[in-house]
């Protein structure tokens, strides 16, 4: 059982959260704001992942709590949580 310290609500069990995937992946064209990119760049963004064995920056949503997105830095081998921050602040 993971215990995740939500920056808004404090320490809560993993069952209150839903996983949102790799937080290091960002749209290559700035979510439509930046210059257009080629299909290969966009395909790489959609599909390719670093998939690290070790520290992993990832999004979670506190679905059954405050419902806000947070960013968790977690070890994928030990499941140790190194840091939790408000989503978007880690960039």
């Amino acid at each position: 059982m993971l215990l995740i310290s939500c920056p808004y609500c404090g320490e809560r069990p993993e069952e209150e959260f839903a996983f949102g995937g790799d937080a290091s992946v960002v749209p290559p064209n700035g979510a439509g704001e930046g210059a257009p990119v080629g299909t290969e760049t966009f395909a790489d963004y959609l599909y390719l992942r670093d998939n690290p064995k070790g520290r992993h920056r990832e999004h979670w949503i506190h679905r059954y709590g405050c419902q806000r997105w947070i960013e968790v830095e977690r070890d994928t081998v030990t499941h140790e949580i190194h840091a939790v921050r408000v989503a978007g602040e880690g960039k």
Binding site: E14, D22, Y47, L48, R49, K53, T76, H79
Partner: protein, 422 residues
């Protein structure tokens, strides 16, 4: 130089029985790695061993090594729920898994090793009108692809699996089901051991406790691997490392459309036989079968976040057990005997990758999601073809790495890119 080979038969069994089973030779050798091989396969799981076996048997290669970081049978080959089926929807998947199922049907004879393949069906329940429509669509797809299938009504399911909850208060009432009668289960350790022994008897070196730590790549061509037991030169290198695909491919500078996730399975204490097929409920997303030892074997969904830990957490165990009890109320009083976890190589479209890579003479077989075990013979067979010919077989052309750039992804469910498909 190969090991002393004793063909397993009723006669060798009788002979050994009279000698108190003291004369069985080792099933495969423990050779020191040579300086060079024509083909090096990284990963001594079912897929890697099968690829080595078919390279030796069907493609005339003899100078082959399989490098295994741990021991044979210690990874996902020995951690799955042993289900074998080919009830896929998309033609490319259906053709590939059906080829694999046909290899399963002759595997014990081919390997001279009893893999205890038992074709006992695979019953996918449905619980409402929409589910029944979906099941009939799947049944029609099976028949159009030339694969066996049958649609079962509620009463037919009741006759086949009487212990499901048919009461008026059932949480997920049984509406009907689709079955693939030729599906089944197999003894998973025997598959690893059988392929290892058969490959070894054809001269393949199986090198355990040998971890690959890097690649020797020159001018875009792989020339060998570095290991904890020294450098090994290789004409060609195949990667078949399941959950560690990203880690090993990363050593060659490749990023993959794969995330590694945790999947758990569990067994109850053993009970008398009551279930002679595999039953899956999409309502609870749990599948249940009974092992030859009598344990009730259960599996469900991924734990849900990236993990290489090979051990799961409690909420998923609770979900799976609750689902199994909802399907089979009689299980309520059973004690859970054992739970375990494996790390799954989840692709972004739910279909595998058996492909050449951008590096010449480096090949990859991975991205097996939930379903690697049933694919073992077929995967090894087409991977051997791909390595030997430096080109995919017709059966695995669609499983290329390039499909994620060309847009020709293979999504059984027809939904977008996320690494949770099964």
């Amino acid at each position: 130089m190969t090991a002393d080979i004793v063909r397993y038969s009723i006669f060798s069994l009788a002979k050994q029985a009279l000698a108190s089973h003291s004369g069985w030779p080792e099933a495969w050798r423990k050779p020191e790695p040579k300086k060079r091989y024509d083909v090096v396969i990284i990963g001594g799981g079912g897929h890697g061993l099968a690829a080595a076996y078919y390279l030796a048997k069907l493609h005339g290669l003899r100078n082959i090594a399989v490098l295994e970081r741990g021991w044979i049978g210690g990874g996902n080959t020995g951690r799955n729920t042993t289900i074998v089926r080919s009830n896929y929807f998309l033609r490319d998947n259906a053709n590939f898994y059906e080829h694999s199922l046909k290899l399963w049907e002759g595997l014990s004879q081919d390997l001279n090793f009893n893999v205890m393949f038992s074709q006992r069906g695979n019953i996918i329940l449905n619980h409402d009108f929409g589910g029944a429509d979906g099941a009939r669509t799947r049944y029609n797809a099976l028949r159009l692809n030339g694969i066996d299938g049958e649609y079962l009504t509620r009463e037919q399911v009741r006759y086949r699996v009487p212990d499901l909850d048919f009461s008026p208060t059932a949480h997920f009432p049984v509406f009907g089901a689709v079955n693939q009668p030729r599906s089944g289960i197999a003894r998973h350790d025997a598959v690893a051991w059988g392929y290892a022994r058969a490959a070894d008897s054809l001269g393949v070196d199986i090198i355990e406790n040998c971890e690959v730590t890097g690649f020797d790549i020159q001018d875009g061509t792989v020339k060998g691997v570095q290991t904890n037991r020294g450098d090994i030169a290789a004409g060609k290198v195949g990667i078949a490392v399941a959950g560690h695909s990203g880690v090993v491919a990363g050593m060659a500078g490749l990023r993959l459309p794969i995330e590694t996730h945790l999947l758990q399975a569990m067994v109850s204490e053993p009970v008398k036989p009551f279930l002679d097929t595999v039953v899956i409920s999409p309502g609870v997303h749990v599948y249940v079968s009974q092992t030859d030892k009598g344990e009730v074997l259960m599996g469900g969904a991924l734990d849900g976040y990236n993990s290489y830990s090979q051990r799961g957490t409690w909420p998923t165990i609770e979900d799976v057990v609750a689902g199994a009890v909802a399907m089979f109320p009689r299980l309520r009083g059973l004690r859970l005997m054992r739970t375990w976890g494996g790390v799954m190589d989840m692709t972004m479209d739910g279909s595998p990758i058996i492909s050449k890579t951008p590096i010449r003479h480096l090949y990859i077989d991975g991205g097996w999601c939930y379903g690697g075990f049933k694919a073992t013979p077929g995967s090894g067979w087409v991977f051997a073809h791909t390595i030997a010919n430096d080109a995919p077989h017709k059966l695995n052309e669609a499983f290329s790495l390039e499909r994620f750039r060309s847009g020709r992804v293979l999504t059984e469910r027809g939904v977008g890119n996320f690494p949770h498909h099964h």
